[in-house]
């Protein structure tokens, strides 16, 4: 099935879970990444039970520091 991941269309296995997608996409430090599906946040505890559907839009939101100590 086709889903949109970080703005790109991807072909993934039917019923792939958020956790599986994160592995497939080689998401760094997945335990500290926020995920939204169709503009709704998914609770961290639900990553492994959330199955994606055809046409879903998935975004990974990463912590980013940088700048200056203040």
């Amino acid at each position: 099935m086709k889903i949109t991941v970080s703005g790109e269309t991807k072909d993934v296995a039917d019923g792939i879970t958020v956790t599986e997608l994160m592995e497939q996409e080689k998401v760094e430090t997945p335990e500290y990444v926020s995920v939204s599906v169709n503009e709704e946040f998914i609770s961290r505890g639900d990553f492994s039970s959330t199955k994606l559907k055809e046409g879903d839009t998935v975004e990974f939101l990463y912590f980013m520091g940088g700048g200056s100590a203040a």
Partner: protein, 273 residues
């Protein structure tokens, strides 16, 4: 307040823009922006905001200029090594534009001073490198109802979002809690391409200018990411403000500011990484 001939000329490229005009330029001159962090992000933002004629610019940073800063913190020069960053930044801003009143705060932001720091400013720019500071700025701005620009940079990537309390999600709606110390690489550990600070810091300055002049659409409810390796910008539409958010939600559990503990990003010789 009428412009002098010199001001008409200095700001002519703004004044000619129909979105800014004389009215917008007057708003800029009457506005007050606080930049927290005179580092990679704060440096280009401060230079452009000073050049733009933001009338009052506050700059907060406890550190002194270090050799490892100069790869990206373009508001400081080699001659400024060892000088407090806020003073070096003040000199650069005043040299660009004498119209600007620069207020310096040579201190770390904490739960006890941040409310006083942000009180008199219209817009806050988060140019800090560490998550405790980013969460502190978010929470304080949400509590005080102050709009701010959040940004982060690492390696060849950067991102930013604008928070207007009450209008869209806050930083905590998206990221909940700071990651444990050293769980997420910092730019000290992972490195950052200097020009990335310029790209993202300038985008923060644009958001401040757009907010002040009421121009265009802000990154409220969106997180803009930039990848320099692919040269791709991606605007992520964020979910709505989280009703369960600990600070901006319907029943906030954070009602007092928190000082989280975490190492900062700037590398200093002799300091353990």
């Amino acid at each position: 307040m009428a412009f002098t001939n010199e001001q008409m000329e200095r700001y002519s490229r703004h004044i000619i823009l129909k979105e800014i005009g004389v009215k917008g330029q007057k708003k800029l001159l009457a506005s007050k922006v606080l930049i927290i962090g005179a580092g990679g992000l704060g440096a280009p933002a401060a230079l452009y905001l000073a050049a733009a004629g933001v009338g009052t610019i506050g700059i907060a940073d406890a550190d002194a200029v270090d050799l490892s800063n100069l790869q990206r913190q373009i508001i400081h020069s080699t001659a400024d090594l060892g000088k407090p960053k806020v003073l070096s930044a003040q000199e650069s801003m005043e040299a660009i534009n004498p119209d600007v009143q620069v207020n310096t705060y040579q201190e770390f932001i904490t739960s006890s001073n941040i409310m006083d720091l942000i009180r008199d400013y219209d817009f806050i720019l988060d140019g800090t490198d560490n998550f405790p500071a980013k969460f502190l700025i978010n929470d304080a701005c949400v509590m005080a109802g102050k709009p701010f620009s959040h940004a982060g940079i690492i390696r060849f990537k950067g991102q930013l979002m604008t928070v207007i309390p009450g209008e869209g999600p806050c930083y905590r709606c998206v990221f909940k809690n700071p990651p444990p110390k050293d769980a997420v690489p910092t730019c000290r550990q992972a490195g950052v391409i200097g020009a990335m600070a310029g790209v993202i810091g300038c985008l923060q300055a644009l958001e401040a200018i757009k907010y002040i002049t009421g121009t265009g659409e802000l990154l409220v409810g969106s997180l803009l990411t930039f990848d320099a390796l692919t040269m791709e910008f991606h605007k992520i539409r964020l979910p709505k403000k989280d009703p369960d958010c600990a600070v901006c939600g319907e029943h906030p559990t954070i009602t007092k500011l928190i000082d989280y503990e975490q190492a900062a990003c700037d590398w200093k010789p002799g300091e353990k990484v």
